[in-house]
């Protein structure tokens, strides 16, 4: 029940990204407003499968439920050079070959690209960044303290 309500909250706000909920009738546009990169709804759905294969749902939400595909789009749009954006869009185009495939097959595809692959490294880095900085993880898993109110410089590590 706890998890459910957490997930529900996350649908409302993907970490500062307001998701357009209104029905424009235009099914092809991505569901968040972007200024530079023209991701389509199909791109967004594919990204959803890719990020979910990187961080899948287990007994806790996976990347898709945390809207990390939208976060990746937002970061590629705002925090990368035109060169990076072009490489990313190209990489995403190629990844269409795994659309609808099983998570294992998608993982295999991504692994086969290798860590040197720019598309894969941006995708993975931004997915991890979004996950570690997500409200869900910071509130439920690795607790972020806004107001620690203390500093202890010699805490015994419990083994």
């Amino acid at each position: 029940m706890k998890r459910r309500s957490a997930i529900k909250q996350l649908f409302i706000l993907a970490g500062g990204i307001a998701i357009a909920t209104s029905c424009t009738g235009d099914r092809k546009k991505s569901s968040i407003a972007l200024s530079k990169v023209d991701f389509s709804k199909a791109d967004e759905d594919l990204l959803g499968e890719l990020v979910e294969s990187i961080i899948p749902e287990t007994d806790s939400p996976g990347a898709k439920a945390l809207n990390l595909h939208l976060f990746v789009m937002k970061m590629v749009d705002d925090c990368h050079s035109l060169e990076d954006q072009t490489v990313f869009v190209e990489g995403l185009k190629k990844a269409k070959s795994v659309k609808g495939k099983s998570p294992q097959e998608i993982q295999q595809y991504l692994s086969s690209l290798g860590n040197e692959d720019k598309f894969f490294s941006i995708l993975k880095r931004r997915t991890i960044m979004g996950y570690q900085n997500s409200e869900y993880v910071m509130k439920n898993k690795i607790i972020y303290e806004l107001v620690p109110g203390r500093y202890d410089g010699a805490v015994k590590v419990s083994s």
């Binding site: 970490g15 500062g16 990204i17 294969s53 990187i54 961080i55 899948p56 287990t58 806790s60 996976g62 937002k74 970061m75 705002d78 925090c79 990368h80 050079s81 998570p103 993982q107 991504l110 692994s111 993975k124 991890i128 960044m129 979004g130 996950y131 570690q132 900085n133 997500s134 409200e135 993880v137 910071m138 898993k141 690795i142 972020y144 303290e145 806004l146 107001v147 620690p148 109110g149 203390r150 500093y151 202890d152 410089g153 010699a154 805490v155 015994k156 590590v157 083994s159």
Partner: protein
């Protein structure tokens, strides 16, 4: 605060004008208002009120659109300010963007500015180490710049005064090179910093490792409660503005205190063009302002003027205050105005790991940042082939890491179960640089900003002394790191441009002789006795200590003198 009616000259006349509302201007204003002077504070930027105008202060990481990372285009458009360690989504609104306020870099200089009420006091790193006679006697002993017209004893009561009010956490370490003060309890070193301290002090008798002294309320006293401030909550999100008033800023402390006297008028959006000089009277009569928004030119008048615009802008204002008597800038009989600008050499760091004490970790956050190593080089006698020395920061941290090599459930497990690694340790140098006539700021003859004020040219560089000192810092720290058993030692020689230290000083230096300096021992222009400069511009030399606390002490001391001179009708 009074409502501004600028129709008549009488309504634009005050007892005192303070130019700038940052760390030194806030102190000048507080001290003037407390002594009953109707005081106008002119701030070129927008108003920022304590708490109310800290929009990001209570935001969680996930609430930032880009999780605190600055967007690519903003970084491209602002190459200078983007180099600053604190320029992120949570505090970007307190920094000047490069294009808003251009300047001319004859040599690379990263000029980091905060144009708003409170200035950079909202953003500073809050390190507050007193200067000592090893600093004030430096130029005379080592034959550079000019002799300081004061010694530590002149400033000591004023350090006491400002420390009690601001709230300074620190230990009494009994070091003549870093005098003790009126401290709140210091923030203890962590277990590895303590280990380093013990190992270093055992091996090297003249080297000390102490808890860094900082402007944080570790234990509030009645004077802090009266300011509406309370205990630091160890957030270390200070650059956003602190809702607890846990660290000292003009916004949380001196400005509201000054306002409470009923004597303060604060006028934001007031870009100071120049100081008005009356040749008949032989004194300054006021300040010319260009309204930031309307571009309207308005003159304000006062008996005494404190220039606290931050080091380089104070130079700019004096250089732009031209009269028949002072064709080269106000009070510039010595032709030293704008020259002998110096800074702190922050261009080297060193990192390592420690594989011991792995049964310990830290919890919470340390607002002091860790340890401080006071200057030990060339302290009592000249030992090296370069002049002066460096202080150093030192910190140990132990964070958890996740293996991010996998994908899928393995990766997720790893991310949710980070493992404690070795301790990480790091140090950065804070080197004294030698003020020289060739390191200067000057007005451009053609280019002006949108308020009609000449653009500033900055021509400041490192020299051979700085290079030698940096090499010694890196060699010495590396040797210390090896000796205490640190591993994986990495030297980082950034050669970052001057300016990024944000400790630019000088250009309006103090001195005994009006022929070779701008200000006397009271921070008073030798040639214009009712104008005082008590910010970084006044510094004759730079020492190795963070300078803000010294600006505060100079401001309070100088106001005390100015008001007594006013009462005696000497100015």
């Amino acid at each position: 605060m009074a409502f501004l009616n600028i129709d008549s000259q009488k309504d634009r006349t005050y007892d005192a004008i303070v130019v700038g509302s940052g760390i030194s201007g806030g102190w000048s204003a507080k001290e003037l208002c407390e002594r009953g002077l109707k005081t106008l504070v002119l701030e070129r930027g927008r108003d920022v009120q304590h708490i109310k105008d800290y929009p990001t202060t209570n935001m969680y990481p996930w609430e930032f659109e880009h999780r605190n990372e600055m967007p690519y285009q903003i970084k491209q458009d602002n190459p200078v300010v983007s180099k600053c360690y604190a320029f992120h989504e949570d505090a970007a609104h307190f920094f000047v963007k490069d294009k808003e306020h251009p300047y001319i870099q004859e040599k690379p200089f990263d000029w980091i500015r905060g144009y708003q009420v409170g200035g950079k006091s909202l953003l500073w790193a809050r390190q507050t180490q007193r200067w000592s006679d090893f600093d004030f006697e430096g130029p005379a002993r080592d034959s550079f710049a000019v002799d300081w017209p004061i010694r530590y004893a002149d400033l000591k009561p004023w350090y006491d005064h400002v420390e009690r009010f601001a709230g300074i956490a620190g230990d009494k370490d009994g070091l003549p090179e870093l005098p003790d003060g009126e401290f709140l309890p210091g923030y203890p070193l962590n277990v590895v910093e303590k280990y380093f301290k013990q190992a270093v002090e055992k091996k090297y008798t003249n080297r000390k490792v102490i808890s860094a002294r900082c402007a944080h309320i570790s234990q509030p006293q009645p004077i802090h409660i009266q300011q509406g401030r309370t205990q630091c909550q160890n957030r270390t999100l200070c650059q956003r503005g602190c809702p607890f008033g846990g660290y000292f800023s003009s916004n949380a402390s001196t400005l509201p205190w000054a306002a409470k006297t009923g004597n303060l008028t604060l006028r934001p959006d007031s870009v100071v063009h120049s100081i008005l000089y009356d040749e008949q009277k032989g004194r300054a009569i006021g300040v010319r302002v260009i309204d930031r928004n309307t571009k309207e030119e308005i003159d304000f008048y006062a008996k005494v003027i404190f220039v606290n615009a931050a080091a380089i802008n104070t130079n700019l204002i004096l250089l732009n205050s031209i009269s028949n008597r002072f064709p080269n800038g106000l009070g510039n009989d010595s032709d030293t105005l704008g020259k002998y600008v110096a800074f702190h050499n922050y261009s080297a760091r060193i990192y390592a790991e420690y594989e011991g004490l792995l049964d310990y970790k830290v919890e919470g956050r340390n607002p002091a940042g860790g340890a401080y190593i006071p200057r030990f080089r060339n302290l009592h006698t000249q030992e090296t082939d370069y002049l002066r020395g460096y202080a150093a920061g030192f910190g140990a941290y132990r964070s958890s890491h996740s293996d991010t090599s996998g994908l899928g459930e393995d990766l997720k497990n790893s991310l949710l179960n980070p493992k404690l690694g070795n301790w990480g340790v790091g140090s950065h140098m804070m080197g004294e640089t030698i003020p020289k006539a060739s390191n200067y700021v000057a007005l451009d003859v053609d280019k002006k900003d949108e308020w009609g004020i000449p653009l500033l040219k900055i021509s400041i560089d490192y020299d051979e002394n700085d290079e030698k000192m940096k090499k010694d810092y890196l060699d010495t720290m590396e040797e210390m790191f090896v000796n205490v058993g640190f591993t994986n030692i990495r030297r980082n020689d950034s050669w970052q441009a001057p300016g990024l230290d944000i400790h630019e000083m000088g250009g309006v230096r103090m001195g005994l002789d009006p022929k070779t300096s701008m200000l006397n021992k009271w921070n008073q222009l030798h040639a214009v006795p009712n104008v005082f400069v008590t910010d970084g511009a006044a510094m004759t030399s730079t020492s190795t200590q963070n300078p803000s606390l010294t600006y505060m002490a100079f401001s309070a001391r100088s106001v005390d003198f100015a008001v007594s001179e006013l009462r005696k009708q000497n100015i």
